[in-house]
């Protein structure tokens, strides 16, 4: 039996599926992307900027100098709205990110290893105060608890199209786990299909895990 699919393109707001809300940024709230390099999160982070880029400038903070705007354009980010900030010096990262959170409507930032917890909390408070849409991708350990509103963890990515020398990479399936306040305290797993266009597809294969501890 085929799995029902839902387009995640522009009419996102018309969709009522709860998981869809995980794949868009909200003003003043931080979405944390957790996973190793290669787990598909850079492209996912860039795709989160697609909708805000239609309304104004968006910024990517790139700590390795490797992020490609071409992948962002493919996910629907407007070329004229995208600015890439390359910051490979850890001492500067906090100040640069703070400056950006203060004035830019939407930011996707890679977080280098070793950023102090209090700095991350200050940045979270700044994002809340300035109603900035933020996605953080930590390159080291997870963000401290309470910083992110929603945590999306990549459980794995599978690629389609390549077959022992034949074909080419066409699309991927990204298995994600959503948790945190933004997921209403329960852990949910869902799968996203990305065929390299500006439309992500949500595959209705959701598993609910009961929360391990109650919120009080």
């Amino acid at each position: 039996m085929g799995k029902p699919e839902v387009d995640l393109a522009t009419p996102l707001l018309d969709q009522s599926r709860e998981e869809l809300s995980y794949l868009r940024l909200e003003p003043g709230r931080i979405t944390e992307l957790v996973g190793d390099t290669g787990s598909g999160l850079t492209r996912l982070g860039l795709s989160l900027l697609a909708a805000p880029s239609r309304a104004g400038p968006v910024v990517v903070v790139d700590i390795r100098g490797w992020i490609s705007p071409e992948a962002a354009w493919e996910t629907g980010v407007e070329a004229e709205s995208l600015v890439i900030v390359r910051c490979n010096e850890r001492p500067l990262w906090t100040r640069v990110t703070a400056a950006l959170l203060e004035g830019v409507p939407a930011v996707f930032a890679e977080v280098p290893v070793g950023i102090k917890e209090q700095d991350l909390r200050r940045l979270a408070a700044l994002a809340r105060a300035r109603k900035t849409m933020v996605a953080f991708r930590s390159m080291g350990s997870r963000l401290p608890s309470g910083v992110s509103h929603l945590r999306l963890r990549s459980l794995g990515v599978t690629w389609e199209g390549a077959d022992r020398g034949h074909g080419k990479l066409k699309g991927r399936r990204l298995m994600l786990e959503a948790s945190g306040r933004g997921a209403a305290g329960v852990t949910r797993r869902f799968e996203v299909e990305d065929e390299g266009k500006d439309t992500l597809r949500l595959v209705s294969d959701v598993v609910f895990d009961p929360s391990r501890r109650a919120a009080g």
Binding site: G38, G40, S68, A71, V83, A99, G103, W159, E195, G196
Partner: protein, 484 residues
Amino acid sequence: MWSLTRPDAPPGNPVLVADDRVTGATPDVLAAGVTLGMPRRDAEALAPFATVLTRDVGEETRRFESVVEVVEDLIPRVEVVGPGLVFVPVAGAIRFYGGEDVLARKVIDEVAGHVGSGPGKEVLVGIADGPFAARWAAARSSPGEPLIVEDTLSFLRTLDLESLREGVASDSLIATFRWLGVTTLGDLAGFPREALATRFGNEGVLAHRLASGEDRTALPREIPEELAVEMEFEDPLEHIDAVAFAARNISERMLSRLRSNGVAPHQVSILAEPDLGKVRERIWRSADPFTERALTDRVWWQLRAWVESGGVPGGIIRIRIAPFDLSGEGRQLGVFGDESARIETDRALARAQALLGPDGVLEGRPQGGRMPAERVAWSRWNEPETARDRDPTAPWPGVTPKPSPALVPPRLQLIEVEWDGGMPSRVRLGTRWEPVLTWSGPWRLSGRWWAGERDADRYQLVTSAGALLCVVADGKSYLAGVYD
């Protein structure tokens, strides 16, 4: 509180009129702590005993039209802000009637005689330098007793910050000012304007101007004739639906014309010519430049008021709207929504650039090429774009297929790949070897031999740790991208 004059308000009972915020309340409701401009939900919680009526601005405008006509008979060039509030330039009228007090009392007498008495029918008149001060002078006056402000600056200094709320400053800005210890416009005027501009952008500057008595001039600039928009109708418009459609159409046409000139109006003149009778004209004013929705609403309210009050006998055969007092604020920057947002963004990026150097803040534009690294033309933010070497619209046979890798190293990185019978079997990622689960390629990349470029083969390698774009040349393997 013109909202309270609606005929369906139960007489003698506590009444609250609101849309999303309170626009009118009877004294007993105000005594319960309700204030004008308060969110409806809060007001309902404070005054659960009140009858709540939803505001109908179009209907209020229709009823207010006759009041505007009374004022206009006394003083020409009335500017309507909304039902219940008009501005009039009084310099000429003061000379004609023999003084400010005489004029103000004349207006009060005429209007009070027209509207009668009852909730919301109190006539408040204030005279000051500029519309902002005059509006608050009227608010502080008593019914039948005009407040004539001699020293506008001193008067403004006593006003509470709440006075900025009407179309000038947001709730959050007012809350921030209060948090900083600023409670009156006098306190605010004491700050250096540059400091407010740096911290709060356009909104802060506008608030400081008003607090300093530098209200927007009421003198209209000269408007090129072609910016006015006119519609003529062979069959007179008599039905409300047709009038509504015309209002939307003509508003959109005018603003689209203004947008191409990079301006937006603070005032518009709305003119309607009836099939029978005299031409009607009214000027509407707004503290902010009119948006599409705001302008459409005003044109619609005005035309509806004329049609429903019998002011355009025989129907409308011509509508003309003309912009006045043009502003360059915001409207031309459709991408950014408003000017202050653009300024804040520019300021943030400039700060990042100051910290990182000019090469730290970059913009990319598509250009042609076969490899991912070639397909982006980089330029520094806020500098002219660099010339694109390669045409992005050209076919580029042999281009690396989409989806593109999300991570592309600026230069090819040497990588260890183990081959087994010409097929990739393992790839070294950091300290560990990852088996290649599947792959595609090779695709031949023929280099420009005359430019010293080598031929190479490209592979897409899929491992359990992700997919890579790999280039093999001269027996060595290089990483060209990571599909992250």
